[in-house]
Amino acid sequence: MSDRPEGHVKFDNVGLRYGTDPEVLSNLSFTLYPGSFYFLTGASGAGKTSLLKMLYLAQRPSRGAIRMFGQDLVTMPQTRLPELRRRLGVVFQNFRLVPYLTAFDNVALPLRLAGTEEKKVVKAVGDMLDWVGLAHRAHAVPPTLSGGEQQRVAIARAVIARPKMLIADEPTGNVDPEMALKLLRLFEALNNRVGTTVVVATHDVHLLKKVPDSLIMRLNKGQLSDPTGALRYPPRPSAPGTGGS
């Protein structure tokens, strides 16, 4: 146990309820390790988005404890949360692009929020848009982009600042199978080359087979199951960044 690395995220007996309704998530206890690639699966209404909201710090748990990057979220002052959020990259289910801003400015947002020098922002965003094949659409605003283009802008925005953890909620839901595969390869590249921990929520079981080293967390009626042993340590011998071979 002593050689076990500290996870990026640790949930300890976490429960979530909205108002006085019954818990939508119950007794979640798991650890996400650096450099791993996780799929979060489950039927619609299983609680995937609620769990992701807690992961990307949009929702507090009703009970239990969460540690993220060594910080206790329960005791952490609210004013320090932005610093933690800047270590995350999030691809929202409905993209959540700023409609007034161009594709370029949307992708530039995380860097500008972090106070990056504008000259570096211009170069980095140009490279990133080129990478996702949208250099020619840099000055288009989201309402004029197709669903797939918006999705790629959202992904570019999520990875531009090289997050320690990438969280994607149904990132392939609005694109054709070919584009879905390209996006997955992009996540894999981020995972393999930069060591970013990736968490992808999807209800598309075909996607799971496309990333061979991925680990699967399954949600069913608010309870988490562990079909591939993803929540145990070591989660998988070949998992990148976990010390496996």
Binding site: E83, R85, R96, L113
Partner: protein
């Protein structure tokens, strides 16, 4: 798309491991949202409110000047009346009173008001017959003291004078103006009360403006929030617009109010009345008035910052 581009803006791992506070940069924050144009009634509402504050403040300052001018002129002035129906005796006692008063310590100047001057002053009320001597008019002596004519001073002069000049009555001239001064003070309080009320109305207008702007951009704010924007950064974006609107309203309202005050001043100056003349605005007063638009902008900034902070508090 398979090769992740090297990012010139990429942060190194050591830097990432430190949760150092990031300082929002003004220019970067300003690029987060597109600038909005001056639309809607808020700048005009602020302009009207600032103009009202300027006029109320100018009124309050003018009244204060008027009160202090009147007070300065009369605080050391004393009137001595010799009430005696016999003209010869009255004249003799008047001369005696002047002599006694001139020798009293603390008396700077003594002037027996000529009978002709008294008659001229009273003629509008008593008619032309006042000069005939049918109506006995007291002799009047203006006395200026070296210090304020307080009750003790009046009593002392009355005692010294009464021993040699029977029928002499000593009054502090300021006493005659006391009701006027009380009224002026009440008007000053009213002006400052109006300023406070209009300042509250300005804050309310800005609060509504900031809240509406925030509600309209809530989706964008949430996105920025989830991408790691700090409260200061989000507030800076909104403050930029609020400050621009408030500055426009403050400058416009300040100029309009100052113009109205200047015109009113010209009108009152044309009256050429001694008392009203004391109610003019000094350079320091104009400086105070010039600070009102600036105070309005600061008030708008503080109100907007508090409004946005309260709205963001509800977000995790």
């Amino acid at each position: 798309m398979s090769t992740l581009p090297p990012l010139s803006a990429e942060t190194d791992n050591e830097a990432e491991d430190t949760l150092a506070p990031v300082r929002p940069r003004g220019r970067a924050a300003a690029r987060l949202l597109p600038p909005t144009r001056l639309t809607g009634p808020i700048p005009w509402v602020i302009a009207i409110l600032i103009a009202l504050v300027v006029i109320a403040a100018a009124g309050g300052l003018a009244l204060r000047n008027l009160a202090s001018s009147a007070n300065a002129g009369l605080s050391r002035a004393v009137s001595v009346q010799i009430v005696e129906p016999n003209p010869d005796l009255r004249s003799a006692r008047g001369a005696a009173a002047v002599k006694v008063l001139t020798g009293i310590e603390g008396v700077q100047a003594v002037r027996l008001v000529p009978e002709a001057d008294l008659n001229a002053m009273l003629e509008p009320w008593l008619g032309e017959g006042v000069a005939s001597g049918d109506v006995p008019i007291p002799a009047l002596i203006d006395v200026e003291l070296t210090r304020s004519a307080g009750p003790d001073e009046i009593a002392r002069i009355e005692a010294l004078l009464g021993a040699q000049v029977p029928g002499a009555r000593v009054d502090a001239q300021g006493d005659w103006l006391r009701p006027v001064q009380d009224a002026l003070a009440a008007l000053q309080y009213l002006a400052f009360g109006l300023i406070a009320l209009v300042a509250l109305a300005t804050a309310a207008a800005v609060w509504l403006s900031a809240r509406n702007a925030f509600a309209a951009a809530r989706e964008t704010v949430e996105i920025m929030h989830l991408l790691g924007a700090s409260q200061r950064q989000i507030a800076a974006v909104f403050l930029r617009d609020v400050v621009r609107e408030a500055a426009f309203g403050a400058v416009f309202g300040g100029l309009a109010g100052a113009g109205a005050v200047w015109l009113l001043g010209q009108q009152f100056a044309a009256l050429d009345s001694g008392m009203v003349g004391g109610g003019g605005l000094m350079l320091a007063d104009w400086l105070v008035i010039a600070c009102i638009p600036l105070a309005g902008v600061l008030l708008a900034m503080a109100t907007a910052r508090i409004t946005i902070a309260l709205a963001l508090r509800d977000m995790l």
